[in-house]
Symmetry: C2
Subunit: 278 residues, 2 copies
DNA sequence: TTCAATTTGGACTAGCAGTCTAAAAATAGA
DNA sequence: TCTATTTTTAGACTGCTAGTCCAAATTGAA
């Protein structure tokens, strides 16, 4: 991306964090980034499109950090899950997103609203998938409820503490929420207590991401299962496959080659082909 | 209050609900309520002060309805608690407060922000007090955590469903959240799992309301306990006392008179005196 | 040097919240 | 009914906003 454009985004970002979206005028951004109005509207069709670009950038970095956290560790590792949630909340806090997101809802900008809404759905859907990965498949029917519960408790607690100007101990908060959810897991499975259809979140996903993420999840689970009953060198191969498949641009040839070294790879091969080639 | 001023508030209210706070201009309000700009700024110092007046009015009505729900029923009745939460959420939904409250945070108006924040704290504090009343005093050390959890789950679920344009079954949501909290109650008491100091919410209350609400709560609990081990006519007297003390302007003479008919009334008399006469 | 793309600064539009004023209208008191 | 006071009115006005437009200046590459 244009280096100049990036400079504008950074200037705007810091101003939004400091003063909030509405209180930051385009004029402020022009002065801070030393460009002219004409150039600004060359780069961004509007102030709200600029904000969306910034959201996109932040989100991209968040996802990258989340992937790094998971690298080389099993998907059912609770500590990984905790760290991944923490990544998001840290980013939210650093970027004052609690306030920024809210600022969006007041604007009349329908696109912007839709954008932020979709973001929220995606996060819930991610949480749901991870819950199924961390606990096991028994939790699936209740996973939408639990995702909303987990997200709600963490979000609400952080939000409250920020508003109250108290110290925010992210780690403690996330662990607390997860302990409550863990109890709820047993609870809802035993009593078959369900509020929302577990597929409600998938339905709200854009089609493409939905299929892709579903396949990815199935793959990771499959590999996870295989890892458990595998020897050391087999586990290394499987672990490598997980990492490679998770990356933004998986190297197909490498994966195919490694796949040859994996025992009982018929099902796996089919799944991976389905994932890699649409 | 001035009938004309009320008309303006109603016009503004409906516009805010329909179009949102930011998207409604003062001009719109003037046209809808057929007054002039001069009159508007006679009534309200600013657009945001108008919004606060509306919030105040809504809140007042909410509290009134909540009091009515409780009338003649014991404070530990779970159904009462559910209905009371429902009142708030219904009001929020009817008045589109999810959007309105958010709209506030974008404005640069520090007063308005503080106002909404305090509102949120008050609601959490109310939830906390009610949790102690509904479950019992053992829950007190964990009551702030549980209040935030309960509020977080309900709020988040409703908010999600509204965003997803799905049906919102308030009753089912609240009952679900309360079942989760109920399990959590046993859980945290057993494991002594505490996140936040239970007094954190009280500390955020304005001094006056704090003391008053504390005394009120103690009174209600005391009366509740007495009711359990009382005969029918005694229970009727105690029930009346609860209602009267809960009202906006308790009639002191009536209370004193009724108090004479209550057995073992020394402690109760002291508490009521403390409550009524500051 | 030439040519095309980019950048510039500022004029401009339309709309916003809020202020102010002089005149009109409503209200109350005698 | 007349008078004095208060309230209401319409609109001009300030200073701000986002976004459009354009001729002129600058830049980079061939």
């Amino acid at each position: 991306m244009n280096e100049r454009k990036l400079k504008v985004m950074e200037a705007a970002h810091s101003l939004f964090v400091k003063k909030g979206y509405a209180a930051t005028s385009v004029q402020d951004i022009l002065e801070k980034s030393s460009i002219s109005k004409g150039t600004f509207y060359n780069y961004f069709p509007s102030k709200s499109e600029l904000l969306m670009s910034i959201f996109d950038k932040i989100n991209h970095e968040t996802n990258k950090r989340r992937t790094e956290v998971l690298a080389g560790r099993p998907v059912h590792d609770k500590e990984v899950f905790i760290e991944q949630i923490k990544v998001k909340m840290e980013v939210n806090k650093e970027n004052n997103l609690f306030v920024l997101f809210q600022g969006v809802f007041v604007s009349d900008d329908a696109e912007l609203k839709k954008f932020v809404k979709q973001h929220h759905f995606n996060e819930l859907c991610w949480t749901q998938r991870r819950l199924i990965e961390v606990f096991n498949d028994d939790v699936r029917p209740y996973s939408a409820d639990l995702a909303i519960t987990l997200y709600g408790v963490v979000q609400n607690t952080v939000h409250f503490l920020v508003a109250a100007e108290e110290r925010v101990e992210l780690d403690a908060i996330i662990r607390y929420a997860l302990r409550r959810v863990e109890t709820s897991v047993n609870d809802v499975i035993q009593t078959k207590d369900m509020l929302l259809d577990s597929r409600i979140l998938e339905r709200l996903q854009p089609e493409f991401a939905l299929n892709r993420e579903k396949k990815k999840s199935a793959l990771m689970q499959k590999i996870g299962v295989m890892q458990e009953s595998a020897g050391d060198e087999q586990r290394e191969l499987l672990s490598f496959l997980q990492d490679e498949l998770r990356s933004a641009a998986p190297r197909c040839r490498v994966i195919e080659a490694v796949l040859e070294g994996v025992a009982e790879n018929k099902d796996l091969k089919a799944l991976i082909n389905g994932f890699l080639h649409e």
